[in-house]
């Protein structure tokens, strides 16, 4: 990166990896964290151009969002890597882990290479691509996991598609284990949820919406856990949304299986009733669940059974969202709302600030094997300066994302990114 020095003084340093939560300063040199300490730069001149006075705000590792769908390649009119990175920077996200559900699907080593080059040339934040687990995401034939890993794929997933065939999944897991690479699964039985727009239950019944049973998630969770036990693969559930699958995963973890899981910000903050009068921006995959399931997700984050919190950022345009509910596309943008929504778990008294940030920084880094997400000396200076108390009202017109399909329009949260740094470079300053 550059040879510049930046000194942060008067910060509340939170490093979830080490448990550090204390006042102090931090020095960035050559894009890396050069020093960190309680009294660092206490006496420095506030007006020095190299010094950033944090005024007691939280300085934490930049967020790692493990589940970002972009439109590049293939649907750049909805979101490019560049526009997604603007949204990420504004949300304090310094690493976007991108999903392979693009056109073409990221199932070829050359496409991983393309993504890395495009990201380096156009994106403000780091991009860590996941590659497809099966060719064309068709769930039939495994991809070249070894070559894709060498090309730079950080994990293998069919994104929001479940590999329906257990034999294919078993072999893909076995093959992935051979290369000690992470498989990220989506737990939603495709037959049980075929044509479903909502979770089965009273609300969907009253609204007359096609719905699938919530247990479609736990059924696949159970299956994949058994396959992990058989194959020894490292496995991460990209996002879960029901109490039943949380319990299944908790039991698997207690048995010592190499399993982790994530939850989306919207499944922490919204339930099925928020769909209201067919509000398509809240049509997501998996669909919003019951209040009991939502509460279980918050408990899961607090207990640590849920390892990471993701945005599941999925840009859609007017063409795909301004439709009758059943016909509308799934997905909400989320890169800019990830931090404020996740912080609500802290503000509502369920977990410490450091615990919530851990699920956004050091844990995703550990799960994916990324060199990021901590404030240790020598680590890349990917940082977010955040005000955990600042009111934040979601306004779709102010979003940096090219797509504006947020599920949180008008919602009030507390806390947001003030400044974001990637490799020591400031990529965002709040207006």
């Amino acid at each position: 990166m550059n040879g510049r020095r930046i000194a942060f003084r008067n910060a509340r340093l939170i490093d979830p990896a080490s448990g550090l939560d204390a006042k102090g300063g931090l020095l960035v040199e050559n894009g890396r964290i050069a020093d960190i300490g309680p009294r660092l730069f206490n006496d420095a001149d506030k007006n020095d151009p190299e010094i950033i006075d944090c005024r007691g705000l939280v300085l934490a590792p930049g967020l790692i969002d493990c589940r970002v769908f972009t439109g590049e390649p293939g649907a750049e009119h909805r979101e490019s890597l560049q526009s997604a990175s603007e949204a990420a920077a504004a949300g304090g996200v310094t690493t976007m882990v991108t999903m392979p559900n693009t056109d073409p699907v990221i199932d070829e080593p050359s496409l991983v290479d393309f993504l890395k080059r495009r990201a380096a040339a156009t994106a403000k934040v780091r991009v860590a691509p996941m590659a497809a687990l099966t060719r064309k995401l068709a769930g039939e034939v495994m991809t070249e996991i070894g070559l894709l890993k060498e090309a730079g794929a950080v994990a293998f997933t069919d994104g929001d598609r479940t590999v329906a065939n257990a034999r294919v999944m078993r072999r893909a897991l076995s093959y992935a284990a051979t290369f000690d690479t992470l498989v990220v699964g989506h737990a939603e039985d495709p037959d049980l949820t075929q044509g479903a727009a909502m979770t089965e239950g009273e609300f969907a019944t009253r609204m007359g919406l096609p719905a699938g049973p919530a247990l479609a998630e736990a059924i696949i969770a159970e299956r994949d856990i058994r396959l992990v036990e058989l194959t020894g693969a490292r496995y991460h559930f990209g996002q879960i949304s029901t109490r039943a699958s949380l319990e299944v995963i908790a039991a698997a973890k207690a048995r010592g299986l190499p399993i982790t899981c994530g939850v989306s910000a919207h499944h922490l903050a919204l339930n099925e009733l928020d769909v209201g009068l067919y509000y398509t921006f809240r049509k997501v995959k998996p669909p919003l669940r019951s209040e009991d399931d939502r509460a279980a997700m918050v408990e899961g984050v607090a207990s640590g059974v849920i390892d990471v919190i993701v945005s599941s950022h999925e840009p859609q345009g007017a063409d795909t969202k301004r439709q009758p509910f059943g016909a509308a596309a799934f997905g909400t943008v989320g890169l800019e709302t990830l931090l404020p929504v996740a912080l609500s778990v802290h503000h509502n008294g369920h977990a410490s600030l450091s615990h919530v940030l851990k699920a956004l920084t050091s844990t995703p880094a550990r799960v994916l094997g990324l060199n990021a997400g901590t404030l240790t000396k020598g680590a890349p200076a990917d940082l977010v300066l955040l005000d955990d108390g600042e009111p934040f009202v979601v306004n779709e017109r102010k979003l940096h994302s090219r797509a504006h399909n947020t599920a949180f329009e008008g919602r009030k949260f507390q806390g947001r990114a003030r400044m974001t740094f990637v490799g020591g470079e400031c990529v965002y300053t709040a207006g």
């Binding site: 070249e144 070894g146 051979t178």
Partner: protein
């Protein structure tokens, strides 16, 4: 040469697998094969030991190499050899294996050499026929003459099996060659390693008393012999392995990976090879390291020895 009155070598009147054979039996077979290897290099390659005997080659799977090796062995031993392949037999008209066996039995063969796509087929035939049965490969179970010819090839180069480490690489899951070789090499005192991606390793392979590796470089470290297996075309397009280029990158034997083996390590392959899939051409063709041609030569010798040994128990 030997005769029907010579000392017995095999306790059984069949050769169905390596399982159940003792180390002294193997040693005796290899010793006997040495004499046939010498005979085969001379001008007169023929003996009259099986004169008047009938050998039937019954091949339900196409195999140029093994079938011609048995045919040649039978003819050099003086037997009348009948080749039956599935395409020309009534099996393709719906006859069951048992009925085929009964029909053959009525023709009074002395030795039946059988290859079949189902594991246990040779065993079944041995119980239904009055003649000696030689398993020339049954499903994913055993291919004993291949393991014996491999052992003969190794012994001729290395003298003995003690202290040798042999790595068997590739499609272990579907390989009868691997299963027979694991049994034979372990029996004779060699250490065996298996190297394959997880999708091509059978369940609980470690229970064979072998070391299992999924990383080829780690698995090849310090080995004396590298035994490559053929990867069937239908298995390298996604079901077990994503592509041939990926397979060659991680499991194909090239100079770089071979450099992890012991200096002077030798390379074997049961054939037919997929060049650029499981083995690089320059290694396959390098007479300094490749034993592939020698394996074929020893194949005829070992099959002559097997026919000799079986004939000793015949009336």
């Amino acid at each position: 040469m030997t005769s029907a009155s010579a000392s017995p070598i095999l306790k059984s009147s069949h050769l169905l697998g390596i399982e159940g054979i003792s180390a002294p039996e193997v040693t005796a077979l290899l010793d006997l094969a040495e004499t046939y290897a010498a005979l085969n290099r001379g001008a007169n390659k023929k003996v009259a030991l099986l004169k008047g005997r009938t050998l039937v080659n019954l091949f339900f799977e196409a195999s140029t190499r093994t079938q011609s090796s048995f045919e040649l062995a039978g003819k050099r031993m003086g037997a009348d050899v009948l080749n039956m392949s599935v395409k020309t037999s009534s099996v393709s008209k719906g006859e069951t294996l048992i009925d085929t066996a009964a029909t053959l039995n009525a023709m009074r063969p002395d030795i039946l050499v059988v290859r079949h796509h189902d594991s246990g087929a040779a065993e079944l035939l041995s119980r239904k026929l009055d003649c000696s049965v030689v398993n020339a490969g049954d499903g994913q179970h055993e291919h004993p003459t291949q393991a014996l010819l491999d052992a003969l090839t190794i012994r001729r180069r290395r003298g003995s099996f003690n202290g040798l480490t042999v790595a068997i690489c590739g499609d272990i899951l579907h390989s009868r060659v691997a299963r027979s070789n694991i049994r034979l090499l372990s029996l004779m005192g060699a250490r065996v390693r298996l190297i394959a991606p997880g999708t091509l390793l059978p369940a609980q392979a470690d229970r064979f008393g072998v070391e299992v590796f999924t990383d080829m470089r780690a698995g090849l470290a310090g080995v004396d012999i590298v035994m490559m297996l053929r990867l069937q075309l239908e298995r390298m397009t996604g079901a077990f392995v994503p592509s041939t280029r990926e397979y060659f990158r991680f499991y194909g034997l090239d100079r770089e990976k071979l450099s992890f083996a012991k200096p002077g390590a030798l390379v074997m392959h049961p054939g037919p090879m997929n060049r650029g899939v499981e083995i690089a051409s320059d290694i396959a063709d390098d007479m300094e390291v490749s034993l592939i041609a020698e394996q074929v030569e020893m194949g005829v010798a070992i099959r002559m020895a097997v026919l000799d040994a079986l004939s000793r128990g015949m009336k």
